[in-house]
């Protein structure tokens, strides 16, 4: 597979390490009432779709950026690649 790195262009997927569902960015609030359940759902339950999947890849053999890759799990077609940091900020994980 080839991942079109937003800064570096097309790179072989072998340079990357795969983590999983991009929802792992959305770590729950540890002080919330339902924190135990929220952390359980966050860490363990996955949509696991047959189709478009947003997922985290780490460019370990490259620039060490974490990326959010939007990829179809049936065809492996990649439709979007973003810097995870930008995604995290856009999702309000900044301060």
């Amino acid at each position: 597979m080839i991942i079109d790195h937003p800064l570096l262009g097309p790179r072989d997927a072998q340079e990357f390490v795969y983590l999983g569902d991009a929802d792992l960015i959305n770590r729950p609030d540890w002080q919330a009432e339902d924190a135990a359940d929220a952390f359980h759902d966050y860490l363990y339950l996955r949509d696991n779709p047959a189709g478009v999947h947003r997922e985290l890849w780490y460019h370990e053999q490259g620039d060490r950026s974490w990326l959010v890759v939007t990829r179809d799990t049936l065809t492996h077609e990649i439709s979007k690649v973003e810097l995870a940091r930008d995604v995290a900020r856009a999702q309000g994980r900044g301060r």
Binding site: L7, L8, G9, E15, E60, Q61, G62, D63, R85
Partner: protein, 195 residues
């Protein structure tokens, strides 16, 4: 308190010698280069512009864009990640390059000495692209001068810096794997020199 250690410690090259190693093949020359000081510079959050300006003032060149390197009189700079660069300079003149740069960028940047984290080989000659074709998944034929990629050579993560398109490259890999990296370079040089 007897403090008797007065002799100066002797440096070793990454390949374990006192002199850098040079290997010459038909079409490829591979030279170990221990003479460059290396320092990483990362811009502090919110101080990216200041960091750039201060770095430029000190280095005499703009910090390069992703996948690029730039050079000035005395310094080379490689992009290594978002808001992160590696600066290199002559080791003899800049053994304390980290302090120099930290002084320059001050609290706008995080500065870390990297000199001895790396081994470095200068690879040049007419067969240099053939060589790297057998070592790493990089379109070396298409690399122009001052293009930089991080890649993997026989499972060893390396920076590959094109000094002159199709003719000269610098490879930097983790110092502890210098022997393995050198072995890989030598083996492939042997193959491409056959043709």
């Amino acid at each position: 308190m007897g403090r008797s250690c007065v002799y100066k410690l002797k440096a070793m090259t990454a390949l374990g010698g006192t002199k850098p190693r040079v290997d010459v093949f038909a079409g490829v020359k591979i030279s170990e280069n221990p003479d460059r000081a290396l320092v990483s510079v990362s811009a502090r959050q919110g101080h990216e512009t200041v960091c750039r300006e201060r770095a430029r003032a000190f280095l005499g060149v703009d910090l390069p864009a992703p996948a690029r390197a730039a050079s000035s009189e005395g310094f080379g700079v490689l992009w290594i990640g978002p808001d992160a660069w590696m600066v290199e300079a002559d080791h003899t003149r800049h053994e304390l390059l980290a302090s120099e740069i930290k002084t320059a960028v001050a609290d706008a940047g995080s500065v870390v000495e990297q000199t001895d984290g790396w081994c470095r080989f200068e690879v040049e000659g007419s067969k240099v692209c053939d060589l790297f074709e057998r070592l790493c998944n990089v379109d070396v034929q298409a690399m122009l001068g001052d293009a930089v990629v991080r890649t993997s050579i026989h499972h060893v993560g390396c920076y590959l810096w094109c000094r002159e398109a199709g003719a000269a490259f610098t490879v930097m890999g983790p110092r502890s794997s210098a022997a393995s990296l050198h072995h890989a370079l030598i083996e492939s040089a042997g193959v491409v020199s056959l043709d």
